[in-house]
């Protein structure tokens, strides 16, 4: 671990497409995965992160640096997270959620998950399938049954299951 005083320790992270990144240990250990490696003494050389590509890792490191620079103020951290994610497109969010999960960063995971959920808020089943590229693997019988089981709208109210 970094000494309490003196020069901050820097770690080198390697993405799965072989890009190298330098990051302050104090920021990098927001990732429990990295923290465990550091604590196990595996952080002497380069830390390989096999499940994260360079573009995503660069973004995650920006987040690590930004959020660790904010003192313990949950409101400010939240607003930083919101701002950080505000310009990310859908595909980037997908990469981020996988990276946050792999790196075990609960605060980022939480925020990205919420952001992705927001994308499908108030959308129809058909829209969600198209947006997420999900194939409808229900048999017609199963689909009819699942619709019947989840009939929550009042009679006469249009459902939007298929639009």
């Amino acid at each position: 671990m970094a000494a309490e005083t003196g020069t901050p320790t820097t770690l080198t992270l390697k993405s799965n497409d072989d890009e190298l990144f330098s990051v302050a240990e104090s920021a990098a250990i927001l990732s429990v995965t990295i923290r465990n490696m550091v604590e196990d003494g595996c952080a002497g050389g380069v830390i390989p992160l096999d499940n994260v590509d360079g573009k995503t890792l660069a973004s995650v490191i920006t987040y690590m640096n930004g959020i660790s620079a904010i003192p313990a103020d949950e409101e400010k951290k939240k607003s930083y997270r919101d701002k950080f994610l505000s310009d990310k497109d859908f595909e980037t969010l997908a990469d981020m959620v996988l990276a946050a999960n792999y790196l075990n960063m609960s605060c980022l995971m939480d925020a990205v998950s919420a952001k992705i959920a927001q994308v499908m808020e108030k959308k129809s089943v058909g829209w969600v399938r198209r947006k997420f590229g999900i194939e409808n693997d229900y048999t017609p019988e199963e689909e009819a049954a699942v619709k019947e089981e989840h009939k929550w709208t009042f009679e006469g109210v249009e459902t939007d299951d298929d639009n």
Binding site: N16, L98, S113, A114, K122, Y138, W152
Partner: protein, 334 residues
């Protein structure tokens, strides 16, 4: 983008690790899960029906509950069913009924936190039956949810682990009664956090709470305009309570702030007019005069206090509550 497992043309949403799908879908909230996500594909259905998704269920309006004309009560029953007894935290707004609460209580013995908001379809004694089935309850938050003194006592007796209790309203502001405060002091000895926004208690009720709840760390008395903190009471509160909010402290951090009538200026106009006229200091604070008023009726000591307080309510209030106060014996003695 460089080739990588996570950067294919389309992310493999259907094949994501289950915990990632669960994390995302959980954020949708119960209403969207039950109307949309569960129907998307079999993998999502499986995640949506996992009991772990239903341990903490937030069915408040702010979580999508009032956006579309859903049959909210059956949805809540489904949420309870899906939790398979693992429900530990439930918030519901607008649609709590006696039947629903009983249904929940018979299937959720692990419940630790319950929040009921705007429960206009519940009777004042509704919770009595249900609450006995929540022996592990630690937090009970009632907003705009009217309960009787007897209910409060039953809550206290049935939930020995109760640490946080909120009883917030705005509809009893013109009446004076220490009934709720006394019931709290009598039965909820383990409380650490207590919030009683717009409660109609007096200094006597507050004194009883300080005595009856020795572990209290936070106490929110905002809009309890009949609490005067006379004598040594203000000091006593400050010494005992780490986080103390006084009757006139700002209220804009909670939803009660939306009721404009409560800004201090307007409040000032009815404060002195109404309650000082109707309840003189002697009536409220002098126990002896209260006893005289009670006139040696048959009620016990505790009840006598309650009765004396209720006696101070103005006539309009007794009319207002005549419909549902009959369960509170002490409050209908007159």
């Amino acid at each position: 983008m460089a080739a990588s497992s996570s950067a294919a043309a389309k992310p493999p949403w259907q094949e994501l690790p289950r915990e990632i799908t669960a994390a995302i879908l959980y954020k949708l909230g119960p209403f969207e899960i039950l109307t949309t996500a569960v129907k998307v594909c079999t993998a999502w259905r499986s995640v949506c029906q996992d009991p772990s998704m239903w341990r903490r269920v937030d069915m408040r309006s702010t979580n999508g509950g009032w956006e579309r004309p859903f049959k909210t009560e059956p949805m809540c029953r489904r949420a309870v069913d899906l939790s398979q007894g693992q429900l530990i935290d439930l918030s519901i707004e607008h649609f709590a009924t006696d039947d629903l609460l009983l249904y929940i209580s018979q299937r959720s013995s692990q419940l630790k936190r319950l929040q009921l908001i705007n429960s206009l379809h519940m009777f004042r004694n509704s919770l009595i039956g249900a609450i006995k089935n929540f022996p592990l309850l630690e937090e009970l938050h009632l907003e705009f949810t009217d309960v009787s003194r007897k209910t409060i006592e039953t809550i206290g007796e049935s939930c020995p682990l109760l640490k946080s209790f909120k009883l917030n309203t705005d509809w009893q502001k013109y009446t004076v009664s220490d009934a709720e405060a006394l019931a709290i002091s009598k039965s909820m000895h383990g409380l650490v956090h207590l919030q009683l926004i717009s409660n109609r208690m007096t200094d006597k009720g507050l004194n009883a709470i300080l005595e009856g709840c020795p572990n209290l760390e936070s106490l929110d008395l905002r809009r309890c305009f009949k609490v005067r903190l006379w004598g040594n009471l203000r000091n006593l509160c400050s010494e005992r309570i780490k986080d103390l909010k006084l009757p006139r402290d700002p209220i804009d951090d909670c939803r009660f702030g939306t009721h404009e009538v409560y800004n201090d200026d307007e409040y000032g106009t009815w404060d002195d007019d109404i309650y000082d006229d109707e309840t003189s200091e002697d009536d409220v604070y002098d126990d002896e005069s209260s006893d005289d008023f009670c006139g040696g009726c048959c009620c016990g000591d505790d009840d006598m206090d309650l009765v004396s307080d209720v006696a101070l309510d103005d006539d309009d209030d007794s009319m207002e509550y005549s419909g549902d106060e009959y369960d509170d014996e002490s409050e209908v003695s007159f």
